[in-house]
Structures are given as structure tokens and as C-alpha cells.
Symmetry: C3
Subunit: 473 residues, 3 copies
Amino acid sequence: MTNSIGANADRLLPADPGTRQIARELLAEVEHLPIISPHGHVPADWIADNAPFPDPTALIVSPDHYVTRLIHASGVPLEQLRVGPGPYSVDSRTAWRHFAEAWPLFDGTASGYWLRSSFQHVFGLPGDVVDGLGADNADAVYDAIAAKLAEPGFRPRELFTDFGIEVLATTDDPLDTLEAHARIAADEAFTGRVLPTFRPDPYINVAHPEWAERVDRLTAEAGDGVGGYAGYLRALANRRRYFVEHGAVSADHGVRTPLTLKLSAPEAEALFAKARRGEATTSDRDAFEAHMMYEMARLSAEDGLVMTIHPGSFRNHHWPTFEKYGPDTGHDIPFAIDYTVGIRPLLEDFGTAQDFHLVLFTLDETVFSRELAPLAGFYPSVYIGAPWWFLDAPDAMMRFRSAVTETTGFTRTSGFIDDTRAFCSIPARHDASRRVEASFLARLVAEHRVPEARAHEIIVDLVDGSPRRVFKL
Amino acid sequence: MTNSIGANADRLLPADPGTRQIARELLAEVEHLPIISPHGHVPADWIADNAPFPDPTALIVSPDHYVTRLIHASGVPLEQLRVGPGPYSVDSRTAWRHFAEAWPLFDGTASGYWLRSSFQHVFGLPGDVVDGLGADNADAVYDAIAAKLAEPGFRPRELFTDFGIEVLATTDDPLDTLEAHARIAADEAFTGRVLPTFRPDPYINVAHPEWAERVDRLTAEAGDGVGGYAGYLRALANRRRYFVEHGAVSADHGVRTPLTLKLSAPEAEALFAKARRGEATTSDRDAFEAHMMYEMARLSAEDGLVMTIHPGSFRNHHWPTFEKYGPDTGHDIPFAIDYTVGIRPLLEDFGTAQDFHLVLFTLDETVFSRELAPLAGFYPSVYIGAPWWFLDAPDAMMRFRSAVTETTGFTRTSGFIDDTRAFCSIPARHDASRRVEASFLARLVAEHRVPEARAHEIIVDLVDGSPRRVFKL
Amino acid sequence: MTNSIGANADRLLPADPGTRQIARELLAEVEHLPIISPHGHVPADWIADNAPFPDPTALIVSPDHYVTRLIHASGVPLEQLRVGPGPYSVDSRTAWRHFAEAWPLFDGTASGYWLRSSFQHVFGLPGDVVDGLGADNADAVYDAIAAKLAEPGFRPRELFTDFGIEVLATTDDPLDTLEAHARIAADEAFTGRVLPTFRPDPYINVAHPEWAERVDRLTAEAGDGVGGYAGYLRALANRRRYFVEHGAVSADHGVRTPLTLKLSAPEAEALFAKARRGEATTSDRDAFEAHMMYEMARLSAEDGLVMTIHPGSFRNHHWPTFEKYGPDTGHDIPFAIDYTVGIRPLLEDFGTAQDFHLVLFTLDETVFSRELAPLAGFYPSVYIGAPWWFLDAPDAMMRFRSAVTETTGFTRTSGFIDDTRAFCSIPARHDASRRVEASFLARLVAEHRVPEARAHEIIVDLVDGSPRRVFKL
């Protein structure tokens, strides 16, 4: 028996003893299945190079905006956590001490759960050390983790294997050579699959500061000599094909809203030209982006890349922080979105298209029962994206299943998406998700709503079948 | 003891043993009370003619868009389920096989619960046969149900009585002669009440393709010789009176949004004329519909018909499906609505009107705690409509009670509404609702928030008192 | 053992026996801690004068729009409850009888819980008398309460002490002399702290019928002889300082929406002048109010008053009721709001300002997980306001903790706010909140998500630490 919650076999399982017992048995079906991660942000270089991870701060704290944001909210400047391009006034160990002192802030949070889990299960720290993380033992824990990182077993590929990862998708620029992916694929000694994902946001979002420059480069490099809007579309199609050839299964789109629009070719061309001249208004930009979502769906219906949409985040909400530290520094804030009206032009033409898969994510929970479940419950092409970002947490995942299941059952959701750059948290995230699935299903069994034998089949399908089917793996 | 979840006496009751015991006792109070169904879509002809139901597919699958939509999402064309006007390339038995093969899609869904329940409780199929419905036993189950449908005890009136239905409201066109209702009422051997409901949507919604034509017919048939807007209003009032004389207790309105508007007579007349000329803009149409909701409230305050509003569904979302299969084919998709601002003009004038009852439904759950509970907790005329459509499911009904009770208690909700054309699912739907009410109340008793003796009174009022009171039955 | 739910030691605690036991122990940590009430509506005069309370109706029914609204919804005119300025056609005892007869309406409501609790715990009524409140015992209960109110121990200051109140904030007009507060502070025999709160709404909301008149008075009295917009701003700053000198810790803003706007001085001045001339359009008014929120933040960052924002209520929804009975009569109805975009201009400049505290409240629950948790999880100045008004109820408070904790943990919320003018309900409200905190934390302990020892620390911080820290007490 252990008092450590991170190691407790029943963690995240429901309190009611009868339901917990059902959940335990359901969990046993999937606890050790391989990890399939069809969307995330781990750099392919890490796996390709297999260099040792740097210090604990650089691995665990500085790049993880889930972690740095909450410490920032408590009054610690991001610079003290070595966020952003630097130079920094503090060394890694000092930044780690800030983190250790802030440890109680993470009680009850998803990040706290993942950190605790990786400290105990990946780095082997005792539960009481993790519980008591703080000023007193900050240095000792830093040293312990640093020592582990120096061991050969803690190189990226070794962890990849230890974590039981079968597939890991990265997120990549359309002009990326995918050289790292090629190196990994070419190494027969390493059996894990590391797949690129086509993410063209800065080439599509006219408001992006580098849009024009990137569009020029894209067209020059991949437009087959064609210029203008036609060359731009040609180049996007060509680069998508290149990604497909290098193993990509999906194209991801981080858009402001789920708006889609079907413009005529002349209309689109005129907007494109206006934007290239730097004259696009805000509504021009929205219209162009909405139209490009339609175009991306058209290309996905042709080349087979699963289309995933991540809308509804106000990026870089605090401009002074963005200017000093850059993007992805903890102040992307969700807002209310509409899918029903916005996605309609796209679905009119591609909602029943053969083999077209469209995975719709949301940070606005109200959309789950109101819009996504009804959409996915009719359109063969639509799948409901798993709870994402702030919603990737036990209670939120439970609310998600409760919100969508009664309308769509268990076959129209994407499977778990970890969406992370925090490599060491991947097992904890998938483990948490599996525990929530077991808990949700256990309640349905306890309430005599799903036969227990079926629940055992369903959980395997949720964990293993859904991501393979939805992402064509 | 049975392993069959459909027959389990504790189905849908909470897992905690203490709470479950309280719920069982609460359920016992209401489990066998008569069914009162003040809003639904069963055709009156079925009861009037009392003809045998056709085959299982025509009864259970093809007309139920809750069922066909999820099979469609899995890739089966609606035509293969004999949806729409036909002709069909498959016979009923083949369509049934598609359904049987799709059976696992319904695990965890409300439709799955109702189907399972009617298979076991109405058609007497054994639990293991229902659990194992699929390609292997599709034909056998089809034959078993078809055989039942041929029995005299399975005619509509016999089922009506067996189901314990006391009142069943239909939904009818304003120009319906209500001849079927009259026939039923005239038959002294049949004691069930089958009441018409006045549903004037196509006469009010200018965007409806037949609006002008229907308005002309309405005015010609019931306008007392008066033309134009005045004749139109007169005809609506006359037909409402005709419905009242034939037993109607409510008028139902399926509108796009809950917007209401009080126009002056000249303004309304001008809009009407513009619409009749086919020149109404989108905002003209919205204004006219909003104004007509105000007018319908005015008439309800006069003639006593309970006014029910069902807003917030984007009808016929996938136009190609609508064109091929018609309306009500599974792609009406909810969107976010506002009641607080929109309904205000109507409530300003009729919110405290004597004996005016207004039942407000929503498909946007966020409205329950934010708008409907506060509105119904102040205005004597406002009642909160029961969870409807996608929300008519155990978890969603629980969320509803949790969202509204703390603000309005148990006296301001409409009572359960099955809103269905799936006749054989009616007992299962009411049974599920009663189980959820028992479960919700049991938790409040277990948490010492409602005295147990009061909970026994409250559940009877929720199931039996509320619908009688709200719908003036 | 008692059957009375109001006196049951386990009231509001979770049903599952194991979780309940954990909750009991957590509750024991905080059950008897002093009450800190940093926002409410009890008049300071009551405490300063320490006069006996008038009759039961005037104390418990007429001024509490939570209570009168639900009785009104059942068809009793507000006049019969002695709401508004009078004269009334009924005496207090008759109004009380209406209340007693309406008692079953309150089953399951937050108001019912508070009333029951104060009847039993403050007035010492037996549980069965409270359970059976109605026509039969209305007079006897009235007399019993009236007798208590005549006792010396039932004067406001004695109750203040009995209730264990340490700090009670009132809500005050900027031109209030704060004489009552001064009297209380000067009395060394009374150790309770009664603090004023600066609430400038009618001076900022141009739509307020008395805006121009009030602005003139404000500027004349406190503008240091300066006129126009500059004098107006000067006067606001001066009165804020006056409040600070009299113990105020916060400034509260009841605005329509959370919109903020940074106008240039000339733009603001022009809008102000236009509004003073009575020529402001609706969008002018919105812009001016949004700008003034920015200005209030600027002043808060200077003078240290915690800024609290209460948006999203459509005030005086039923105009005929407002005209007859005045404001705060039960028909302020919430609507959907946006914080992410609206609050941004303010946060751009003050989101990381030293010692600036901004507490954001909402009546739209969807904002908790989607916007407030992410905002408070990044900006050091932002705290999430406790569930307010219709959301100040057990289930709603549970949904709140579930919605925000996984993103922000337990350190970014305001602590409980009773926000009430119902003085005798204050202990019941704080008690209910503590029971909900214990129940929420108990589940996290039972699910092995928070170590039990930490939960014991966290609950003390939620109840006692948070309000002191957030409100600088």
C-alpha cells in the first residue's frame, strides 16, 4: 500500500466501490495498449538525433506553457522561468527553484497530474518527495532528474520505446524538408512510426506577419513555375503530396473561427491579390481564410489527408508578453464559437464525400452537445475531436463523454489526442484518458445502460480502434 | 436475476447503493402512472383507423430520424434505409438488415435505450437476442416483430391502452379538418384522449417555399371574406378557435430563433404585403416571424391555447440530402440562441397575463441555467420546456434538473414531452424520464437537501401534476 | 438523530459513504472559521444604529428578490408581499401567510436552503415546524420569529457577533458620507469590521435616468472646482480616495457587458460632452461605459482598490413591474457574455500591473471553463469571482469548481461572496459554500487526485486565505 496518489492503482477512478471495481476491469483491457498519438508537437529532430535531453528546466518547465502560465499568474516573470528567446538573467537551476516553490499551485490541475505522474513513473521519484516538492528539495530533485537525463536509457528513442509509443505525429511547416522524419523511417533498428503533419496556418492566415513572404517562398519553391493564386494553390497541393509521400496522414488547421466559405475562383483570386498587395481588410482576411478552409477540404477529399480543425483561441492575448517572449507563452484564450452555421458550406459539398475525414475540435465546451454531436451523428465525414488543451483533463473529459455519447454513441469521436510538446508527459496523458474512459463506461454499466461485455469491447475501440480508423493509421 | 440491462429493474438508477434505494422507492410512486403526452408527432390517423402497423422497418427504422441519422453517419445511404419518398432499391427486410448490423452504433445513446426497451417490453424479445442483434439474427428478429404486428393486440389503439396512455397530442396543420380526431372522440369504446395541436409554422415563416400559396389558401378558407393581412390574422384566429373546439390545448411554434417583436399594424401590414409580393429580405422575414410570435401570444392570451416555442435548430443543414429525401431526415442541427433579449417584447405585454401559458424549449443547454430558470422563476406565464430532442436523454435530463432546480424549484417545468413519431418508443421514453426524475430527487434526499416525504410528493407532481397544470389538461 | 434536513450534520455532503467521511473531516477544518464577506448589500445603518429588526416579513420576505420572485411566478402579485415603495393593501402578517403558503415552491432551491437554515439555526424553529410551514402554522411561525426579533440578542450587532462575522463589506454610493461606517469604526466595544465599497454605476452608465444629474452633483461636490470630463474624473478619484480612507478595499462595477475600451482623452471628452447634452447614441453609451471601465482599472492600479466586475444581467426585464415596484424586484435576467475579447484592452495595460486585483464575475456559466479559468491562469491581476446570484447554489458551485480547477487550481478564485441583503441568511450561505468546497475536495481525494493532507490545507485557504489575499484584508 502506498499513500502516494501518483502511484495509486485507482487514481482517477470513481469513488463508488461498485463502479470502481467495474472501472478497474475496464482499465485492465487498455492500460498497456500501445500509445497512438496522431496529433502533437514533439519535434521530429529529437527522435531523429536521439541526443540526450538538456537540463530538467529546459525539458519540463520552460517550453510548457501549461506550466509556466500558472507560475506567471502567481507573479513570477516568465523570464525567471527561462521562457522565450533569452538571454535570461537566471540559470536553469534557479528557474527550477521557482517551479518547485510554485508546485502547490498545481494541485487539482491537469498539469499537476501529468507532472506528478512523470516524476513518479518516468523519473522514479518517491511519492513523498513529489508531494513535498518545494524550496527545500528543489535542488535535490533537479539533480536527480538531471542524473536520469544523463543515462542512456533516457534518450528520446529509448523513452519512446519505454513509453510504448507506436505512432507519434509531429506538426510541421509545409516547406519543411521532413529530413528528420526520413532519417527515422530509414533506421531499421527503430520501429516507432514518427509521422509529419501538414500545418499551413501562416500561409493561409493573411494576418500572419510573414504571410506575404511565406506565400512567395511557397509558390517559388513548389508552385511548378505558376504564379499568383493558381500557383499558390498548386504549391499547397504539391507540398501536401510531399507530406503524404513522407507518411503524413493529416493536415491540421489552427483557425480563428470555424467559418468556411465557397468563393468562385475569380473572387478568391481577387482577394488573394488584394492581400498580396497588403490591402486586405479584416473581413477580407476572414473571407479568405474561410475560403481556404473550403479549399483544404477539397484537397483532403482528393489526397486523403485527414483534415483537423482547431478553432476558437484568441492567440497572444497579452501583446506585451508576445512582444517580449513570442507566441505559445500561455496567453491564448478561448472564446465562444459557432460550428453549425460556419462549417456548413464545407459540409454541403464534402460532408458525405467518400473517405474524407474531418475532425472538429473545440475549446468551447457548449459546442459538444449542441453542435458537434449532432453534426458527427449525421455526416459520415465528421468526427468529434477529443477534449483539447484546457479541456484535456479528467472532469472535462467526463463532461465531454456525457455531452456527446447520448447523441452519437462511441463511434464518432477521434480517440485521444495529447497535442503536447512535453514529451515526458505523453504516457501520463494517455493513461489519464484511459482512466476517464474506464470511469465513464463503468458508470454506464453500473446504471445498466451498456452491457458490461460490450463496455469491454467499447473501451478497446475508443483507445485503439478509433484513432486508427479516424486517422487512417 | 437477469443479465439483460433492458429489463433490469434498476436501469438508469444511480450506482451508489444508498441513493439507489431511495430512487427505487421514488420510482415506485410513479412507475405505473398513466402517460400524459402533451406534445408529439404520432399521426391521429393511426389511432382513428386502427389499422395494423406495416412491417418492422416502416414502423421502427425509416421514419425515425434519430435512428437513421446515426446509421447514415456510419456510411449507409439513407435510401438503403427506405428514408424519403422512394422509390427504394431495397426491400424492408434488407433495410432492416442494415439496421441490425448498425446496432452497436447505438450503445450508450438515447435511441439505443428506447429501441432496446421497446424490443424487450413491447415486442417481448429476450435480452440476449436484443444484445446480440446483428447480421446473424436480423431476419429472425424481423420475423418475430412482423408476427407481433400481425396480432390483434398490436393495433395502435390496443397498444395505446397497453402503454397506459391517457392523453396523446398530435401536431397538425392549421387547415387540417381534424376529422381523425373527431372520429376518435366520437368512439365511446375508446377512452384515450387524442388532441390536436395547432402548428402554423409554414403559414408564418416567410422563407417556407409554400408560404404565399398557403397564406392564400388559409385566408380563402378561413378569413371570413377579409383579404390581406387582416384576413390572414382573422383566419389564424378562426382556425385556432376551430382547434380549441376540437380539443386542442396548445399551439406549437418551430421558429429559427426566439426573437419576438411588437410591430404597429401598419408596419406589420406593409411587411406582409412585401412578403406576399415575394420581395421580403432576410431581415424582413425575421421581423415578420418575430412579430407573428407576438401576435400568436396575443391570440393565446385570448383563446387559452398554451403557447410552446421550439427554436434554435438549423433545419435541413445538408441541402443535397434535403433535396433527395425531404425534411426531417436527420440533419437539423442546433445552434446557440438568446431568450433573454429576444423574448422580452412578448413578455413585456403577456408575461403576467392571466392564464397565458408559455412553454419555452431549447436545444442549447446553456440557456437552462442562464435564461430559462430566471425567466420562469419570475414570470407567471413562463414554464421551462423539458429537455427536447438531442437533450431527451438520461445524462442531459440530469443536467437540466441540476441547471434549473436551484433557481426555480420543481414547479416551473413543463413535465416530460416525448415529441416523437416513434409510437412504440413512447413508454420507454416516459419510463426513462421517470427514472431520471427519481435519480435526481434521490440525490437531493441523500444529500439532505429535500425531505424524503416531500420528494415522494414532488415526483408525483413532476410526472402527473405538471403536465396537467401547464397544458391545462 | 434528527429527521430534519436543515439540522443534519451531513447536509450537502456527497452520498457515497467513503467520500462523505472525507468531506466531514475537511468540513471540520473550516466549519467554525470566521465569516469574511467582502461583497454584499447589508446597509451599514443596520449595524451602526443597532435598532431591532422590524417584523419577519420586512426582514425575510419583502426585500429579498430571490424569495419574492418565485412567489410572484406562482401568481401572487408583488404588492401582496409588500414589495416596492407601497402603500400596500395587505399587512405584514398577511404577506407572511402568502409566503408560508408558497413554501413548497422553494424545495430544492438555494433560497429554500438558506431560509430553512436560518429558521432552524438563527430562529431556533424545530425541523418539523419548518418542514410543515404553510397556511396552518403561518401565524404561529410569524409570532415566534417576531418574538425573537424583540429579544436583545437579535439586534444586528449581536447577530453579527453570533454569526461569527469578522468582515462585512457594504455597497455604497460614491457620494455617501460613510457616516454609518465611521460610527461603527469609532465604537471600540464592537470589533466587527464593516467596510464600504465604492459602486459608481449610476455615475458611469449614461443610460441611467439620473446620470447627468448625478454627474453634476459628483463634480460639484468632489471635482476640486474643475468642470467637464476632467472634473468628473477628478471627482471619481477623490471619492475613491475618501472611500479608501474609510476602510474600503474594493470598487464594484455592475455593467451590462464586460467590454472595455481605451479611448484617447479627446475622444473620451467628446463622448462625455455629447452624453451630457443628452445626445449619446446607444453605441456612444456602450463606448463610454467601456472606456470608464478602463479608467476605473487605471485608478485601481493607483489607489489599490480591488476592482470587481459583475456583468451580464439584463436589469428590469419586465418594464411594467419596474415602473410599479422599482429595481431589484426579481426580473434581472442573465444573458450570454464574452470576456476574452471584451476585457482585453484593460488587461493589455493592467493585466500584469503590480498589486492590481481584478475579480471577474459571471452569470453565464459557460465563461468559467472557456474564458475565466484561462485568463486567471495567466494574468497575475485576474481572479475568478465566486459563483454569483443564481449560481450561488450547491450544484452550481460544484460545476464552477469542476470547470475552473483543472485549469487554474485552487489559488486563483476569489473566495465565497454572499452578495446579499438578507442578513440572517449570511451564515447559511457561507456554511453551504464550505460544505460544497469540502464535497468537491473530498471527491478529488477519493479519486486520488489531491493528497488528503493537502486538501486539509487547501480548504482552509479557500475559505479563509483566498478572500483575505484577493481583497487585501
